[in-house]
Symmetry: C2
Subunit: 300 residues, 2 copies
């Protein structure tokens, strides 16, 4: 199971008590941070999400509302005595930006940062729990979305049943892969008779900042949860296009085309204090939509 907590959902300037973009995707053991606007470390504390469990950070692009909180988080991790490696995925300039801040304070971090430059589409990370792929979105500066897919657990062996069928332990790995077992006498023990299916692999796609662009649909097809920005309501589609952002109807349409199971919307312009219309409008196109409200945790 995955869980996504929203730490910030406002665009450009913090306003109306809303913070700039940051989200955290949680597995049982690890927190994956997605974008890191100013104040993210405070939001992490507020929602009791452990910094120490963040080992990978994904930055979509270098507009400040998506990464100005990164240097604060990096140095606070150091002050908290972190020793584990930290992996940061994002645009090439990130390393120089972090470095100039560290140089200015003559800071030597007690842990190591590995910068992974994201400059093309494809798989960028793969640990035992998740694979992460980057896909280009269409924004004023180079910008990537990220898709997180659980690595499917093997089938679970039922101890009493494998013993009852006298299946030797050396075959367990094959059973977990879904294979049947053939006894010495030639009897076939059906896999389903001694194992049960694992939970299905869940997926989450984060489309960052983007204008309406159907070319992303193939990259996010069938995800369980989709985040698409809605900087503006539907009447401002021209402004959205000019500024490389999207409207409610456009986000709904992408979710529909991608056959996403659920859509969350965010990156609201500071011109909107109340967000109700975002939900109403988007739902006219894609019913299963929710606001990416700060502090809300979506289980996937």
């Amino acid at each position: 199971m995955l869980a996504l907590t929203i730490l910030g959902n406002n665009s450009a300037i913090p306003a109306h008590g809303r913070n700039p973009t940051a989200q955290v995707l949680q597995t049982q053991d690890e927190n994956y941070l997605i974008d890191c606007g100013e104040g993210t470390q405070v939001q992490l504390s507020k929602y009791k999400i452990k910094k120490s469990k963040i080992n990978k950070i994904f930055i979509s692009h270098l507009h400040g509302d998506h990464y100005f909180g990164l240097i604060g988080l990096v140095t606070s991790m150091a002050l908290s005595g972190r020793e584990n490696d930290l992996h940061i995925y994002g645009p090439a300039m990130l390393e120089a930006i972090i470095q100039i801040h560290l140089d200015a304070a003559t800071t030597r971090l007690p842990y190591k940062i590995y910068f992974h430059i994201v400059k093309e589409e494809g798989e960028i990370a793969n640990d035992k729990k998740l694979t992460v792929t980057a896909f280009k979105v269409n924004h004023r500066i180079e910008c990537y979305g990220y898709k997180f897919t659980e690595i499917k657990n093997p089938r679970k062996i039922v101890p009493d049943l494998v013993k009852a069928y006298e299946i030797p332990e050396v075959y367990y790995k094959e059973l977990q892969k879904g294979k049947d077992y053939t006894t010495k006498k030639g009897t076939i023990i059906n896999n389903a008779a001694v194992t049960i299916a694992a939970d299905s692999a869940k997926s989450y796609a984060y489309c960052a900042d983007t204008t309406y662009d159907e070319s992303i649909v193939d990259k996010i097809k069938g995800v369980d949860l989709l985040y698409h920005e809605t900087t503006y309501l539907k009447d401002l589609d021209q402004r959205a296009a000019e500024r490389h952002h999207s409207t409610t109807l456009q986000a709904g349409n992408i979710a529909k085309l991608a056959v996403a199971k659920k859509l969350i919307i965010g990156h609201f312009s500071s011109k909107y204090d109340v967000l109700d219309d975002f939900l109403t409008e988007t739902r006219t196109v894609f019913e299963n939509t929710e606001l990416a409200e700060e502090g809300v945790c979506f289980s996937i």
Copy 2:
């Protein structure tokens, strides 16, 4: 009259709902920002202090808890359509740090920033309201404190009285300077008979981050309000010295030696949740002490 509002008072890491260092000194027309930790722009909004009235920002040193909020403020000012010049006073590297962030986003600001490198003691700014002098404090990296002194208003002419004594308008400027007026017949009209004294010029000294160092006393002598850091309580004087910070008793002692009228203390270590002991301890040395609590406005 001056007014100082505390926006952040915690050291190193935001904690216990406390933010990193930032303060704003207000005259009737202008807001002078002193240090700018992460989240300062949010704190400014929270306490209804106008960003548009900030024309001068003073950064003491390049530890992150004193300036990581600067780039966010600079870009938010741009997004709010600012056109007025902004003057930033601080260490030499600040310009390169701000520039790399702007370059990364290909941002062109709609207003001009003038960087003023503070690398020696003395007067660094002087407008019609205030003079600002920088003085070295004793920290791990180069660090300056700032003293703000009101420019004394001229004496105020009492219109009815100057008319009654038939003093020509051309002499008004001399009267404002405190000079007497001699009539054609040789009668001396005492200045005090036709003018009243202006409010006395007030002063505020911000000592930034510093170890106990009596050499700063001469630079801040007799100020109306003094801010001195108290990162630690008195029992941790050794740790304070090692980390180039100060304790409660040390701050109180500096205020006493400087014959300050009032002392405020801040930059509390995150290890302290409750701050009562800071006040109690400092007051044993210097009675007129207050905590630099966030949101509190000290009139000077």
